[in-house]
Amino acid sequence: MTFTLSVESEKIVDELLTRYPTQRAACLPLLHLCQRQEGWVSPGVVAYVAKRLGMPTSEVTGVVTFYTMYHQQPVAPNVVWVCRTLSCDLRGGREIQKHLEKRLGCGVGGTSKDGKFSLKTAECLAACGQAPMVQINDDFHENLTLDGLDRIIDELSAKTAAAAPASGDAAQKAEPADAAARVRAKTLMGIGNS
């Protein structure tokens, strides 16, 4: 149950703590960092964060339960978020959701039969002009068609079979300005660290 952050990530935490006048303010980014390593916010993560920031565990739990993006249960290597809000619904969001339920063989909140995908609904993801859309791990997939969606799932499915969790992709694709900046972006936010 005990959780420890990798040595590199500990260095990130040290830098994070210099950003704010209080330790506690690092709570949200630190939870993100831990979740990227552990896959979810386990009780071990909560205990670690509480100790690292000098907070009561009950308060860390209070934070974790407030926010949607902290997984309070383990999730599959790929998390699929279907946007269900109005602009997407008007352009086929519901069909996208139904299609995914059929394709993955699970309902919203469930995990695909092969264990590779968790399916969830999201509220508006600020991509309304590119509706319908889904977020998978760090990537937005916009202006979706059912065929296009199938291809994305096929691709991820194949990649996941090779046992590599897929969440490092976005950092490579987004091409930040230069190598140094990319490293900083990846490390400080913990993006691409999994």
């Binding site: 303010a25 993100h32 993006m69 602009s87 519901r94 309304c128 979706l144 300005a177 230069d178």
Partner: protein, 456 residues
């Protein structure tokens, strides 16, 4: 299509527009250099006041006036906090700035920090926007390497630091005091006001909270001069150009820059390319994010009194009134985030309302009973109606619940739920009556299947 000047979007079309090299070749940081090296902080603030820029986050408060609320005699330096939580349904404009031109935001932060005397700025970005976060981090890094962010920007003794802070998935964190709690590592619950953030904000210090687009407009205001920037607008006391979004049933949904005072007709039929399907006319439009009450194209402005703020548009359709903070308030709705959701005549309005009330019941922070209970109840009643299990009395019940939510809560979320609910009920009551009798017909958001290339 109308050819509007590209000011805040001037670099959008350039390859690698998010890099310092490209941004700087096209003018980035020249305004910051000018502000730091040739202007007094008070002069910067005067230009921003003259620009008549109304906050782009939804409430439309004049930014110049807000900066003036900071206490003059404070012993601690104020913080600048940028609201990049963009979560209002239908709104997707700030993301384009962060992804395509992060240096414009960084430059705006620098100038604003100089103007208000801040040394530290936090940009609060919702964590789902991974590309935005990466590009902002990279932009800050590049600007730091160049010395623009750091101990002596442009050789001036005014140390600056800019940090990106990631949210964790909660719409309410867009409300400025909830955002501050979330920044401090707490649950994102709004604070009782007063004290207002200008007096006691982040970490107990005076704080200015502004929207991404508001601050990203500041470099252009300095470069052009406040008055010249303001004059880009078609309206008085609401200056400049701004980002308009259009989504839903139009041919070319997207984010477009245009002068303040564009009409919804121009946004839908010109920028938006017209209705998605030729045989499905416009039925309704939510003008500026889901919290703004819906408008119908068939409604005409009734303002015969010459003193009425909308008198100039007396007898015209609601979608022909220029979009401004004050004009849209006078129209009984709000300009909000200026991102419109367009619905054609295949849409059942009870179904649309149900979709949105699902959102609000999910996102209420739960501190205030009228909001926590009211949002859940509205959603339950709408579910019942849509499933054909409703009664006629449910319509009045919806009105009652919504009325009881207004004005009774810690933050504006509850009003932002009740107002659009009442808007749907007022304008589409007949439709609610039909649904109360027989539920929602299948394919009540019918265009969707067609949009995906299927049949309908």
């Amino acid at each position: 299509m109308a050819d509007f000047p590209k000011i805040i979007t001037s670099r959008y079309g350039l390859p690698q527009s998010h890099t310092l090299k490209v941004a700087e070749q096209h003018g980035a940081y020249s305004a910051a250099r000018m502000a730091f090296t040739t202007m007094k902080p008070e002069q910067i603030a005067v230009e921003v006041k003259d620009a008549n820029i109304r906050g782009r986050g939804g409430a439309g408060f004049p930014a110049g006036v807000k900066w003036g609320f900071l206490p003059k005699d404070s012993k601690v330096a104020p913080y600048l906090v940028i609201n990049a939580d963009e979560g209002e349904p239908g709104t997707f404009k700030d993301r384009t700035l962060m992804e395509l031109d992060p240096h414009r935001l960084v430059e705006g932060c620098l100038i604003a920090m100089r103007a208000v005397g801040a040394h530290v700025c936090y940009i609060y970005v919702r964590c789902e926007l991974v590309t935005s976060i990466q590009r902002l981090e990279a932009a800050i890094e590049e600007a730091s390497e160049r010395g623009y962010v750091g101990k002596q920007p442009f050789g001036v003794d005014h140390a600056t630091q800019i940090y990106v802070h990631m949210g964790a998935g909660a719409y309410i964190c867009g409300e400025e005091t909830a955002l501050l709690n979330s920044l401090e590592g707490m649950r994102g619950e709004p604070r009782l006001k007063p004290p207002f953030p200008a007096v006691k904000g982040a970490f107990g210090a005076p704080t200015v909270v502004n929207n991404v687009e508001t601050i990203a407009s500041v470099p252009d205001i300095i470069r052009m001069g406040g008055k010249a920037w303001s004059d880009q607008s078609r309206l008085p006391r609401d200056g400049g150009t701004r980002l308009y979004g259009v989504s839903g049933h139009v041919k070319t949904p997207g984010v477009y820059e245009a002068p303040v005072g564009l009409t919804l007709r121009e946004l839908i039929y010109d920028l938006g390319g017209g209705m998605l399907h030729a045989d499905r006319p416009l039925k309704a439009v939510i003008p500026g994010g889901s919290s703004t009450p819906v408008l119908r194209p068939g409604d005409l402005v009734n303002a015969p009194d010459p003193a009425h703020p909308l008198h100039a548009w007396h007898g015209k359709s609601h979608i022909d009134v220029p979009m401004g903070v004050d004009t849209f308030r006078a129209l009984g709705t709000m300009l909000g985030t200026c991102c419109a959701i367009v619905m054609d005549d295949s849409v059942n309005m009870v179904e649309a309302a149900r979709n949105l009330m699902h959102f609000y019941s999910h996102e209420s922070c739960g501190q205030c009973t009228p909001c926590r209970e009211g949002t859940g109840w509205l959603h339950d009643v709408l579910e019942n109606l849509c499933e054909g299990k409703g009664k006629l009395q449910d319509i009045d019940l919806l009105v009652d619940i919504a009325n009881n939510m207004m004005g009774n809560t810690i933050c504006a979320f509850a009003d932002g739920t009740a107002m659009p609910m009442l808007g749907f009920l007022q304008k589409f009551r007949d439709e609610f009556v039909v649904v109360a009798k027989s539920g929602v017909p299948p394919h009540s958001l019918g265009a969707t299947v067609r949009a995906l290339g299927g049949v309908s």
